[in-house]
Symmetry: C2
DNA sequence: TCATGGTAAGTAAGTCTTCACTCACCTAAA
DNA sequence: TTTAGGTGAGTGAAGACTTACTTACCATGA
């Protein structure tokens, strides 16, 4: 009996936190979501096993199913969790009211290029779109669409101001975000080496794009906007 | 025994072409590659089973393994098959020597937007990159890198001509192709509805981008390039 | 200050299914 | 009669999900 307890202690030490304490349901769910997110991002939904997820968290596979009745449920929980963008919009607000084009575009571009940190996010988004999960639409709609619409709205007001040429605002917004996202894609997904810093890249893109958008007063020399 | 033969007759009618003839190894391989390509594109490598592939072609699963010893071999065969871009470059050549910027950019953009036809291609490329197949690098290098390098080279000569502003050519090339590819991505992968025709979109993108790139002579009114 | 019992956290060891891949065999045609 | 296209019926491994069970924690009343 006493030796039984001893071996027990050693075995059951797995499903505990660093202090050997049992973990609350909420915390456990959170850590499962986090682990699953990075695994799904790395290997896709079909490429990841529930066993792996359990192992990453250091618990038994059975526990995963206690909190999430199916693998898909877990996936859904991840997507639901990731839907929070609004921070950005507040930050940009000031630049928007000041009509500081350069700053608005730079901030939007930089937000998405935030290096490393959320590279899992892009992968997750792509995977869910490719694998065609029902949730990916919601995911995209709630998280990404915001950017396009926001930027498009800004471009529209600038056109009304007479500052930008008259282009389809949504198309222009997509074009700009496309440049930036594509750059991330090349780097983070395809592993293309980049020889410039993120800042330089963003600066170049913003500069190029605004140069194409801004309605120049007659006689202004475009080369005054020469890069670097 | 006799009834055994009867059922046999009916079952073996499967692995034949429309004339009831047996199919040559080459043709069979080709049809397997085609079927596998569209399945992998739709559901990813891990999401597709060899049984499905066999069924799509109308043969037994065993036959798949007769031609392709492993599932990965089949995958490799698809990627190897898809590596052929050079057609485009010949077509663009004329526009390049004429320094017809508008046409060069439009052709490159249009090639990739070629509607429908090769939507499987984009998916396949993304899937293989995400799932991290060793082959995806080769795939990307042989098929896609060409575009970036080609366009970058063109931009470089135009800068030397004094026609374009001095920008990092590769970055600019990526930016342009990024706009276009991203547009396809939104449409074909994320299912975002597009309210413009492909032509209009490409025209807008080319126009926007060139406006940002072209070094305008003093006094030229940019609004003369107004869209639509 | 304890037992003590209800409950929530946790597990080992399955079950059932599917999947990549094999094997022994068949048969049309050259 | 050989050979190349073709098959049904497996096999072992792995994966999603269950089941029956074991703790640890904590509130409650004696």
């Amino acid at each position: 009996m006493s030796e039984d307890l001893l071996t027990m202690k050693k075995q059951t030490a797995e499903g505990r936190d660093e202090n050997g304490q049992r973990v609350s349901a909420g915390d456990r769910q959170a850590s499962l979501i986090a682990a699953a997110a990075s695994l799904f991002a790395a290997k896709g939904f079909n490429g990841t096993t529930t066993k792996e997820i359990a192992k990453a968290v250091g618990v038994s596979e059975a526990l995963v199913f206690k909190y999430f009745p199916t693998k898909r449920t877990l996936y859904a929980a991840i997507l639901a969790e990731k839907v929070t963008v609004n921070e950005l919009l507040d930050v940009v607000e000031a630049a928007v009211t000041k009509r500081d084009d350069h700053r608005v575009f730079t901030m939007i571009a930089s937000y998405r290029i935030r290096p490393g940190a959320d590279s899992t996010f892009l992968r997750l988004l792509l995977f869910s779109a490719l694998e065609g999960h029902e949730l990916s639409e919601l995911f995209f709609g709630k998280h990404h669409k915001v950017f396009y619409d926001y930027l498009a709205a800004y471009i529209r007001t600038r056109i009304d101001d007479g500052a930008f040429r008259s282009v389809d605002p949504l198309l222009a917004a997509r074009a700009f975000i496309g440049m930036v996202v594509h750059h991330r894609l090349l780097h983070e997904i395809f592993g293309v080496p980049m020889h410039q810093s993120h800042e330089t890249t963003v600066a170049t893109y913003v500069d190029l794009f605004l140069a194409g958008l801004i309605r120049m007063p007659i006689g202004r020399k475009s080369s005054s906007r020469r890069l670097r």
